[in-house]
């Protein structure tokens, strides 16, 4: 079977007269919308806002670490800076990044529905996100929090007089936003699929989000109750986590990581979901081993709940229990490996082009492999003793989160930009920015692995001079990285006005969302589609006739 897809040239395409963007105007029509696509855009804007704040904080971290002593800011300020960096980046940027924006936009389109199951709850979830964001920002503005993003007790409950409760409440509220998003996705995927859309015809993007949603609804509430207990401990001293009262500070760790480990899969699974789509589209080939990739998402979600204690190996947990969790951690790494290999194999016999999303996807594969395999270092008990709480961890999670998820996010934003806005981003400059990001990333975070093995502890405002050289590299890299991220922030808005008109299906992709006009109508589909082919069926696409560029509305 071989396929050449040649759709009519999209260059002649015009913007549709009517779309979700111009159906209604005015701020109110946005702030009160129930349309998942508009809510996605709202999320996109707010997430970018928080990313810039988190990024500026990252810049401050790197500037401070340029020299060994704490000279740019006091240690106290530094602690607040990295805590806010972690909190904002994780809870306000990375957790909602792909699901709340791209996922929100695409899940209904991909399953062939008119909207998510509960549009009002979807809007509510955005408002909760914003309220959570305001809490966290106010905690920052009022004087900051210096707990780190992990809120370790009893430090956070009894030994700090910063705005811990405000920040915790912010995370609590933002957590419910994430729960509601997950709830909406699960119900939509179960109940709103169009005729003929069986589970195994779903795009892998949907599978990835399904798995993510499972974690969101089962994990997040545990974090919520934990933060409530922390707040109670701080305000009225209830003693559950306080060793002087007979409580157990490790219990906090258990409950916190019960959410926060699965949360790292909330952060990566949607990214993997994007990569599946991108790789398939630009190699014009069905994803190799569709079923394995689909099930590996669910496997990651389920196994992800079994391994949280690997964050506590030297924290005084029982050694026998540590054994169990180390073993389970090894198991959870396997489905990720399956995915990586299946994607690589998808390229085989493909017909590959190298547009920007594909470049980001390659970045993802390389960097996530390194990041993931260094996760194995940490899961290995004896090795973790030396590596834990050093820059090795910092490097590990930036590789998976920034090198993995952020790259996937950018891949997704570029890939679906034409669908969301109806216009193409400028290809040449965006390729450049992908390459700059990649180089900047390596220079920033690779030295941190070496630093970590040398023993440099994380969360240090001042460090012994022996570590300076590698830190200078890291800071230099961060500047390059910053430029890499700044570029899309400039050219993407630019393209809203000056970009080429995209047409329905600029990538000649198979997904349902590509078969309708871009940007789509408010109701997505005039007629609910009937799915009569497998996902990624390029045969089907190739056989589709010429009446493609028609724009409805």
């Amino acid at each position: 079977m071989s396929t050449i897809v040649s759709l009519p040239d999209q260059a002649t395409a015009k913007l549709p007269h009517k779309s979700y963007l111009n159906e209604e105007y005015g701020l109110k029509s946005w702030l009160l919308t129930g349309d998942h696509k508009r809510i996605a855009i709202l999320y996109l804007i707010s997430i970018t806002f928080f990313f810039v704040i988190g990024g500026v904080l990252a810049g401050l971290i790197r500037l401070e670490l340029l020299t060994p002593p704490a000279d740019l800011m006091s240690t106290d300020t530094y602690n607040k800076v990295f805590s806010m960096h972690g909190i904002i980046m994780i809870f306000l940027f990375l957790v909602p990044s792909v699901p709340a924006t791209i996922g929100n936009f695409l899940i209904p389109l991909m399953v062939g529905a008119r909207d998510l199951a509960f549009p009002k709850i979807n809007l509510l979830s955005w408002y909760l996100y914003v309220i959570g964001g305001i809490f966290i920002l106010s905690a920052m503005v009022l004087g900051g929090v210096d707990t780190g993003w992990t809120f370790t007790t009893p430090l956070s409950t009894h030994y700090l007089n910063t705005h811990v409760v405000t920040a915790a409440m912010g995370i609590f509220v933002a957590g419910f936003s994430s729960i509601l998003t997950g709830l909406n996705f699960i119900v939509t995927i179960h109940r709103m699929r169009c005729p003929g859309m069986t589970w195994f015809r779903l795009p892998l993007f949907v599978w990835g989000h399904y798995a993510t949603s499972i974690i969101m609804i089962l994990g997040t509430p545990v974090l919520a109750i934990t933060l409530v207990l922390v707040a109670l401990e701080r305000t009225i001293n209830i003693g559950v986590f306080d060793p002087t009262k007979g409580g157990d500070p490790l219990l906090f760790q258990h409950l916190f990581w019960f959410y926060s480990h699965p949360a790292v899969y909330i952060m990566i699974l949607p990214g993997m979901a994007v990569i599946s789509e991108v790789i398939s589209t630009f190699s014009r080939k069905r994803v190799f081993g569709y079923t394995a990739v689909a099930f590996s998402s669910v496997a990651i979600a389920v196994f992800g709940f079994l391994v949280w204690e690997h964050h506590m190996f030297i924290m005084g947990v029982s050694q026998y229990s540590a054994l169990v969790f180390s073993l389970l951690t090894m198991l959870v790494a396997v489905p990720s490996a399956i995915k990586i290999f299946n994607w690589s194999m998808t390229l085989y016999q493909g017909s590959i082009t190298f547009e920007t999303p594909m470049l980001y996807a390659f970045g993802f594969i390389g960097l996530f492999t390194i990041g993931g395999l260094t996760g194995i270092f940490l899961a290995t008990l004896g090795m973790d003793v030396h590596l834990t709480e050093t820059y090795f961890i910092v490097a590990h999670f930036h590789f998976v989160m920034v090198g993995g998820m952020l790259m996937a996010y950018l891949a997704g934003v570029h890939f679906w930009w034409p669908k969301m806005t109806g216009r193409m981003y400028p290809e040449a400059i965006s390729k450049l920015s992908a390459i700059v990001t990649f180089i900047g990333f390596i220079v920033t975070f690779f030295p941190q692995f070496l630093l970590g093995y040398l023993g440099m502890p994380r969360r240090y405002a001042a460090y012994p001079a022996d570590f300076q050289v590698l830190n200078v590299f890291s800071t230099a890299g961060a500047s390059i990285l910053g430029i890499g991220y700044l570029m899309p922030m400039l050219y993407l808005p630019w393209s809203l006005i000056y970009g080429k008109i995209a047409g329905n299906n600029p990538w000649q992709a198979t997904g349902l969302e590509w078969q309708i006009q871009s940007p789509p109508l408010t109701e997505n589909y005039v007629e609910i589609p009937i799915m009569d082919h497998e996902a990624y069926d390029y045969e089907w696409l190739a056989n589709k006739t010429v009446h493609e560029v028609q724009t409805v509305g």
Binding site: V222, H254, F258, F305, E309, V317, S318, F325
Partner: protein, 105 residues
Amino acid sequence: MSEKNDPEHQEQHIVGPKVYLLVFLALMVLTATTTGVAFIDLGVFNPIIALAIACVKASLVVLFFMHIHYSSRLLKMTVLAGLFTFLLLITLTMTDYISRAWGMW
């Protein structure tokens, strides 16, 4: 009940007052039992029996008041998923607490 997987049968199963009343009575009796048993010294079995009765009561509520008995497989799976994750939280945390003092006795 048997037609719960029948796609044609979209009508909700209506549970009648009789079932509700029976379940209610069972719940009341079980409440009385659990309170009564608590006053008898059964050693380690006290908490076990208390929890067992609570589980029976909860199952009754879930199955009949909440209609899971008449619902689709999907809803049944949903309930089980909740139970399963909760048990994961408990058991895996306990691996730590139970074995922490191993070697001490």
